[in-house]
Amino acid sequence: MMDFFSNLDLLMLGSAALSIMLGLFVGMLFGALPGLGLIIGVTLLLPLSYAMSPVNSILMLLACYQGAEYGGSISAIVLGIPGTAMAAPIALDGRQMAKTESPGKALAYSLYGSTFGGIFGGLVLIFFAVPVARFALKLADPEFFLLGVVGLLAVATFGAKDFVKAVISVALGLLAGTVGLDLFTGTSRLTAGYFELYEGLNLVAVAVGLFAFSEVFMMLSARINKAYSFEAHHLKISLTLREALGALKAMISGSLIGSLMGVLPGVGSTVSCWLAYSGAKATSRTPEKFGKGSGEGIAAPDAANNATVGGALLPFLALGIPGSASIAIIAGAFIIAGIQPGPQMMRNNPELIEMIFIGFMATTVGMFFMGKALTKLFVRALVTPNSFLVPAILVSSMIGIYSSKGHFFDLWVALGLGVAAWIMRRLDYSIAAFVLAMVLTPIIETSFRRALVLSQGDYSIFYSRIYSQVIMAVIVGILAVALVKSLRRLRNSRQAATKGQATS
């Protein structure tokens, strides 16, 4: 560690700090603006990775992730409209406190909770990533293949409304990941003769098309000249020591739940937020205050939100398996820099890992100070109508795509995917599963084929080792959950149909 500090120079620190600030600013702003949110913020920043060092671009995207988790609470508290899906439980007590006490105090509970959760998640990452990665070095290709399958199945099962459409989304994402030259044989696949596709589909174009363009079309399908209004006073973001200590237990329980949920692929912040809210209510001395402006009711889900970030990074950095769409897009920064996350990275690039760990903690601290200083600004940004936001997002998206590789072809791909995603999102297909699958394709395909080549085509290699057997048991468990969920949904829809017939 001392060697690490002696190698640091001021210029490197300055550029890292600027990257973190940019990420935090964009994250908080996009998190705060209803309808935009975390993934679009991360997606629009991703192209800047081409002009940055790997460490700076990764820190910028992580800062954006952290900032957006807090930013989502701003509109939930000030307007009662969660800026992100994760901030929905925060609106319950946050809006009430904003009405009955002051919006500043509610925002302060949110910021303190986010900061506590961020630091907690960071510590989980720091203390567990290296042991997990060390263990992962014992895993071989069959296990990595199976781990990739676990990630995909979890996303299809837990994160989707419709299992059939989730499976199709995953399969389409995997298919998109196979486009280009095959790494094993150099054969071109599904390129239709376009040289722009030889290196595969441009991840920036895919992410921007699927998330930013489709979201813009969604925004255009609603009222876009609606301007939100609120009373912009009592916005001092501070808590007394007593108030902060009063919410400490909720922050700890929220952080624990958030970190744990973050590690599990496909679960993410939304679930962890609601669990943290319920957990804090169950263990509170004043559960009757929940829903009526409880500080604990704001701090717990916010702590869970930000603790999820550290938790979600753990399997990604240690195993190379992203567990959510946001992490999959952040994985893009690694891919752009030519770095393969996973146990080998932990062993071969310890400096990078240390920078990420330290930068992650700095990001959380930076979020606290930027939140204190700039929340009023983000609150005022809420009045920006979508009629101004939509064209601005379109332009920044298009420049972002073009600046990634300089191909107009990618812009057309993004537009086509944006239109397709706009239709398919409305039919309950999962674009998050698509992107995650696309990013996981190289890991899954390479591990699968290499394992078979090593075993001379013997498929028993996938279940002959104890590690594979454990992962296979997890796969069976996930499939069982999917089956139970499908049967329950079928039963509910039949019951609803029977009730409908009875009433008519």
Partner: protein, 149 residues
């Protein structure tokens, strides 16, 4: 159009895509002993999509209409898609990015905000915001990201 019809159209499109993929990868040879070949995964996924599309289609036929698949302000979405396509074409073939960017922004601002009531103030505001964003893009991408737009 009903949601069921739209679902069936999408399943049909996915089936066509799958068949095209299966045809495209069917003749890729296996060159390494033990390997399943470059065409295995895309082919397998195409069959999977085909199978699940069939399953989804049967389910959609058995289910009810599911309501109407329409979009409010559909015209606005389609016009925007057309304007984006026009902007991309003009950028690709004319190449005056920042001038075109300003016009693109000003045009869309004015189109979206026109229902608020046309006025000189609205036009001036739109032009000001469009110029501001264009300038920001110019400074950011020319001097910080070093992209030749």
């Amino acid at each position: 159009m009903s949601i069921r019809t739209m679902n069936l159209i999408v399943y049909a499109a996915l089936a066509v895509l799958s068949i095209l993929v299966i045809r495209a990868v069917s003749d890729i040879p296996v060159t390494m002993p033990g390997d399943v070949g470059s065409g295995f995964l895309p082919g397998f996924l195409a069959w999977l999509i085909l199978g699940f599309s069939g399953l989804g289609a049967v389910r959609a036929i058995l289910a009810g209409d599911g309501g109407r698949f329409g979009a409010e302000y559909l015209g606005r979405v389609l016009i925007t898609i057309g304007v984006i396509a026009g902007f991309l074409l003009s950028w690709q073939y004319l190449g005056f990015f920042f001038l075109q960017c300003f016009l693109f922004l000003f045009g869309l601002f004015t189109y979206y905000r026109w229902p608020r009531g046309p006025s000189v103030r609205l036009l001036v505001t739109n032009a000001g915001v469009a110029a501001g964003i264009t300038l920001l893009c110019y400074v950011t991408f020319t001097y910080f990201v070093f992209v030749d737009l």
